[in-house]
Symmetry: D2
């Protein structure tokens, strides 16, 4: 359970790190969208391993095959199934993990919950599953682009290296310019050094990703349980290695008084706008037309190339030497994943909004 | 849309601040649970307005009526409907809001989305809706108590006043001892003063609530989208005035290296345990048997008794003087709400776990 | 579980025959629909007991109270809660049923499933629950009327008394002209006599209801699991006392050959039409613009005023004398229920269709 | 939308007749079930084309590949993805259908709904999609077998050739003995002749399938909308070519009086049983421990090898000569599909029942 996401633009994810592959099915995609494999591939290429010296050397080209839902280059409105085969799997590298639980991984909880697990590369708990999210998110992003909605995530902080405040909404090229996916060149090169330093020490680092959305119309979202920020929070905390989420002023904002924190309304270019944006583009769970922005915390990668204390499946204490190909820092590759999930949440809410609020005229 | 929550223990919330009342229906409650109105009322009393001098003076006793689903003092297994009538509504106090949007409230977004709204007390966007969540959560908490799962939330920080690190798991009485719902007496009295100071200045303050759960078995939760922390994050960001969520080491933890952050496994009293708990009780989206803890940020109340710039429904700039009964700080009353949502998430995952993992024997 | 219906226009039903009342909450209703209690009441009046000499004498006026979701006479887009209190409950009439299971009722299965039940009037299994469906369906019908979609059900057969073939689409008045809700006067009066005859004998009769829908646009419905006729079948077999469903040519049509059964396409008034309508208005699960029609079988009422063999809760054989106020034939009162469920299914599919197929332009 | 089924044992179906293949993902499968491809293949072999002279000659071996969710021969509890490639596709055989709508097929409605369609072999509306259901159903059937629940469907009637009343619950071999899947040898050979006669005439025939389930415990199912028979009805009317459904006494039973129709309770072998079974094994939407049985009507195949009147995409009248490989009668191959859907419905309700009613002890 828990492997599908979205009410109207619904995706079902499947696959393990070392099984037949990773795949996803989209149900609810609008018909007649021009779509081909390169639309998906370009996003998968941003996520794939081995793309730079600061990512895992696992060599997967992650070529996507679209199995259904497209005809004559246009979506049919029926399910779109996509498949990425696993190629460079090395199950034998995980033999030791068959018996021993890796600290701060999901080995122990999966074993306890299911009484059974695929220990190779973490099986279903591997971040390799996010291929499914990126592939589906690529479709959502393309649809949103027809509504002029632009989703841009970037690495804002690695360890204690933080981009300066007040960055303009960066273009995609600026984000992609550095392997760190930090659009501020000076910080980006410091980050790169810090990641390599951690790698060299067999250690890892974490940080935070900022996601910004512009072009959002007023009115997407819903009251009560499915607030836009609630669904975004769920989508982020559903990613591997995430530990926190904040929207708008976030935790910082709680140090302000109400009179300091409120976003005052004003009239700008004939529109109702706010003079500040501590709300982060959402009020009462519904977009207010300002830039939507939120931040997600990613912990340092759990796999470290050091000897660590642990227990085995029999509950006996033992030691485990970290092995396997891994990323010393997950954030650069997490950027397209954050964008994908954001696009999925936004599109789903857009479709709900159209269904309820823009399809009936009772006047 | 978006007014129901939970897959198996499903609740549907309805009602507005100044309409006929607030209510909730629970579908999926296990049968034969002893349940009466006082089980619900005691939690509603912790949430109700007018309970102390630091809360809104709106005088609502918030008496619950159970309309269905109980017979001879036991749940039937069929829907439990609960109703709380609105009593002390003063719609005329909101006449000015009919035309003007309150800053950092949902007036503008509701009006834009629906083309129509109930301006009295915020209508559906009022925090009064959380009565529904607390009532349903009271049932979930009672069920969890039979599984020895204990959910305890408390105010950890108001403005910049923070409880010291390392507090033991407090008992309910310790939390309830102060109107602030902070279980650390010294900090609690400073918080109380700070809130009264804000109230006197017609201003408001925010802060954070910590929620801790003990007694959780290993194995509740799910991989991928519906990780336990993902559903908790959604439940928290779906509450009014929340801006952030973090589980375990949270944002702080991202300043550590992997070697510093990992929770090492050890064998303790015959069980697999971790020697630290930066994971916060959840690994791979599934409970690991350690204490679950997470933190939610609440912004300062948007209603301040000061003149603020805004626009009216015609988009013209104007001013609005804050009025209406309100809380200078929402956190003390939010504590039972946080507990309620937590219990709802946990029980829903418990039921999913039983259905999938503990109901079949293939050996 | 199983007490809510609909994906986008979602309703949650609650209540028992002899508890606090029956209610329903609608989530997903479009905003700005003019709606007042009389819109609901007129449909409830068609369902209520005591409306004629061929229905149960239980005296319930079934007055509805709208508790939320309306402001200034228009829907808000947020949940609409509706409540009908139970008035003429006579729990003591059911004392014997506390111990004995009524044949062909749900007493035994509820007791077995839940280990507990409300034996008064059947509790949750009472057809009184259909108040919730009729109330919600009244809203759906009103919305559909703005799309020129008209839903008309009527009693087609009681016992072996069948209306002649080839009836025109009847107006509402023609259906309401007889207490039997059969729009063919001659058959209607024979039916009335047959029902009274059964009543006099302490017995009961069944039959079938035909439901016809005109004005349906081409394109509502969905492939595969949620075909329009699949959701209609579910909605009908979810009604108390139903045993069968058929759409278009139904079971009869399976005695034809393909060459006899196919509906040939032709061009009529500039539209693609079929020259016959054995498909029943739906092809591949999607409406084709022809009249939609389907038939539902209702068994004879299980409560008969005769002595019947049964067992008690201890499993011992005993006898039970039928008692309680009941309908000798459920069909006349089931007509508005069939219409309500049909409207709910159609509106839900309309909203899905708008969301997916009419809200995006990729050209 | 509408391409997934089941709340807890949830399946997502995808694929077209002439695209990359057909597939299905199961989410919610219990862990540690022994499962391999042959478990699936044996059911697919019962459904596959070309299995006898009364089925379509399309030559597809329909070999299944399990892509995920199994490790060391046991299910992992995480999604099981299965893929069947299309092999013997002949898209050019459908060139004429690119422009012309086949009567009583879904060509026109798909084109109208989506503004686009895959005309090759009916695309998504092809019965080839039912591979997904049979594959998923094979898993459900295997799980149910551990609970001693046995699902058996068979062809009961072809055209007007009906098996005699009162057949014992047949074993699988008896059903499989004839290519018609009718377990009554004499009727089966008449049916075979009738089908071949229709085939020779370029025509087609329909009929009905009976499905019987034994070993069902008391208590599966749910009140109100998700009654067991309601979900079964939906699952059947969601199959291609179905026009009707009846459970227990069905339409026939509505010609009886209540006193004739009721199933009286008795005590048999220490259990509460009914002396007749017109209810069909379900009362109030919940299984009562008797044999569950229901009947589904399948219309004659719409594809006939004759010239038929139709219109083209421009709405002009024209003629179409039936072509393409097809079945002169769909029922024999529909038998495993009916079983698969039945197993899916039953298992889903079993899981719901365990979650709500058998996982908590409040005594």
């Amino acid at each position: 359970m828990g492997n599908s996401f979205g009410k109207l633009f619904n995706i079902s994810s499947w696959g393990e790190s070392h099984g037949g592959g990773i795949g996803v099915t989209i149900d609810g995609c609008p018909p007649r969208l021009p779509l081909c494999e390169s639309d998906i591939q370009k996003e998968l290429d941003r996520r794939r391993p081995g793309q730079s010296k600061i990512t895992t050397p696992r060599d997967e080209s992650d070529q996507v095959e679209i199995l259904s839902g497209i005809f004559d280059g246009l979506t049919l409105g029926t399910p779109i199934a996509m498949l990425v085969r696993n190629k460079d799997a090395r199950p034998q590298a995980y033999d030791e993990m068959k018996e021993k639980f890796r600290p701060s991984h999901a080995d122990f909880t999966y074993q306890s919950k299911y009484g059974h697990r695929n220990h190779e590369g973490g099986g279903r708990s591997s971040a390799r599953e996010t291929i499914a999210r990126v592939a589906a998110g690529a479709v959502a992003k393309k649809i949103l682009s027809f509504k002029k909605v632009e989703v841009r995530a970037y690495v804002e902080r690695i360890h204690d290296l933080l981009v300066p405040n007040g960055l303009d909404f960066p273009c995609l090229d600026a984000v992609e310019a550095s392997p760190t996916r930090c659009p501020h060149p000076k910080t980006a090169s410091e980050m790169e050094a810090r990641i390599l330093e951690a790698k060299k020490a067999g250690d890892s680092v974490g940080g935070s990703i900022l996601c910004r959305v512009r072009g959002l119309p007023v009115g997407w979202g819903a009251p009560v349980f499915d607030r836009l920020e609630a669904d975004l929070a769920k989508s982020m905390l559903g990613l591997p290695a995430t530990k926190g989420f904040e929207v708008g002023s976030g935790f910082e904002g709680t140090f302000l008084k109400g009179s300091e924190h409120n976003d005052l309304f004003e009239s700008r270019e004939g529109k109702v706008r706010t003079s500040s944006n501590r709300s982060g583009g959402v009020q009462g769970g519904i977009s207010n037309g300002e830039e939507l922005y939120f931040r997600t915390a990613f912990k340092p990668t759990a796999t470290v190339l050091q000897k660590q204390q642990t227990v085995n499946q029999e509950g006996q204490e033992t030691e485990l030497m970290g092995r396997g190909r891994h990323d010393p820092c997950v954030l650069p590759r997490a950027v397209p994943i954050v964008e994908a999930m954001t696009a999925l949440v936004l599109l789903d809410h857009a479709m709900r909004h159209y269904a309820q609020c823009e399809s009936f005229d009772f006047s």
